[in-house]
């Protein structure tokens, strides 16, 4: 079995609004996947469904082949750090490690947490409430890793951290991924971080999966083309135009390619992950509301 996390037509509804709909993707073992999308796209909902905190209203989600909702059997394999790393602030670091052990008898390895906390210079008697944001994030990660999970889910782990703390957090995460081979799904808005850290992408937009796959494949099949103004007819070698902008003379296109593009007509350049994501997210948004505002487009 290759997929550690698999969603098939997965949907979740709050009242009559779908927070997530028709969500289908699979995450192969050993990958570090970025879960990306604008606020309200359904990222946290997806993570909560994957960890079994929410029940799907449609379709299914499977973690290591099992439904996570109302299923304690899958919990030992899952590590989850929720947004803003909620920890008991009155507990000391040592008490948290003890508590983690009592709550996770199956595979808990306290030495993982102790080693990491020692490296970070966090004293056992230190209360969690007195730690910096970066240290709290590191404590939460250390606790999650002590479960030795096969799938680690992180909801905006670095959003509130300063650049140095963010770098240190990602260092710790990448070091442990290298050591344990844990599969990771992490949501983030910090696209520049993701490019180096992630080798898989799940891009959500307005409750749907907009783009998913291995980063290498996605970057290998997308190009930016610049050429003389294009009339909109089919371009040989181009499977889909993701985004386009035109001047009187020139066209700039973000395209998905499926063959050779005529490079005498087009200047073709590779795109980075950040540009690719922005290209996909940008294209629907500018459905102008000029009429509603009473201004001309």
């Amino acid at each position: 079995m290759d997929a550690v996390l698999e969603a098939d037509g997965l949907g979740k509804r709050y009242g009559n609004r779908w927070a997530l709909r028709d969500c289908t993707f699979s995450l192969p073992e050993g990958q570090v996947a970025a879960l990306v999308g604008p606020n309200g796209a359904g990222k946290s909902t997806l993570l909560h469904l994957a960890v079994g905190l929410l029940r799907p209203d449609d379709g299914s989600v499977r973690v290591l082949g099992q439904q996570p909702y109302d299923n304690v059997a899958v919990l030992p394999d899952l590590g989850f750090v929720a947004q803003d790393t909620p920890l008991y602030r009155d507990f000391t670091a040592a008490e948290l490690v003890t508590m983690g052990g009592k709550l996770n008898r199956a595979r808990w390895d306290a030495s993982v947490a102790r080693n990491r906390l020692a490296q970070l210079g966090i004293a056992p008697h230190q209360r969690v409430g007195t730690l910096s944001g970066g240290q709290r994030a590191q404590v939460a990660l250390a606790l999650a890793l002590s479960k030795r999970p096969r799938l680690l889910l992180l909801d905006e782990p670095v959003a509130s951290l300063d650049p140095l703390a963010r770098h240190e957090f990602l260092q710790a995460l990448m070091g442990s991924v290298a050591e344990t081979g844990t599969t990771v799904l992490l949501s983030s808005h910090l696209l520049s971080d993701l490019e180096r850290v992630c080798d898989h992408l799940v891009l959500l937009e307005t409750a749907k999966v907009r783009l998913t796959g291995s980063v290498d494949d996605l970057l290998g099949t997308h190009r930016q083309l610049i050429g003389a103004r294009h009339d909109g007819s089919a371009i040989p070698g181009v499977a889909a135009v993701i985004r386009e902008s035109h001047t009187d003379r020139q066209s700039t296109l973000l395209v998905r390619v499926d063959g050779w593009v005529d490079e005498t007509r087009w200047t073709s350049t590779e795109v980075g992950l950040e540009d690719l994501i922005l290209g996909y997210l940008g294209d629907h948004r500018r459905q102008g509301s000029h009429a509603a505002w009473g201004v001309t487009a």
Partner: protein
Amino acid sequence: MVIEFVLDGRSKVNTYMQLVQQVRQALRVGLLESGDQLPKVRDVAQALAINPNTVLKAYRQLEMEGLAEGRPGVGTFVTGTLAGASLMHQAELRADLVGWLRRAQTAGLTADDIVALVDTTIRATLADDVIVVTHT
């Protein structure tokens, strides 16, 4: 550790290719030689905060180029070399060059002056023999 990787955040070159290029460069200048162990994947991933698969990909590329060899459970080792026969002369030539640079500085040349002088001299001297520069 024999070498330490650094990443250029502004570079357009892929992360994995940057690692490959650094190993090639280290081989060229003799910083790495056959038998040396490359940094462990875990250490590189942690130090640079990059995906371990990226490091593995770089090491696989080096293996394909015949420059390195993975030994299961131990690590990746340098097997090839890129340093030409000129390597042994390089240290001597470098020492000459450093001496010349000091003289140029004493003579009052700035770094830019020196670069310009070296540049024009290379063109004038080597162009006749090897490098063909065409002006249209």
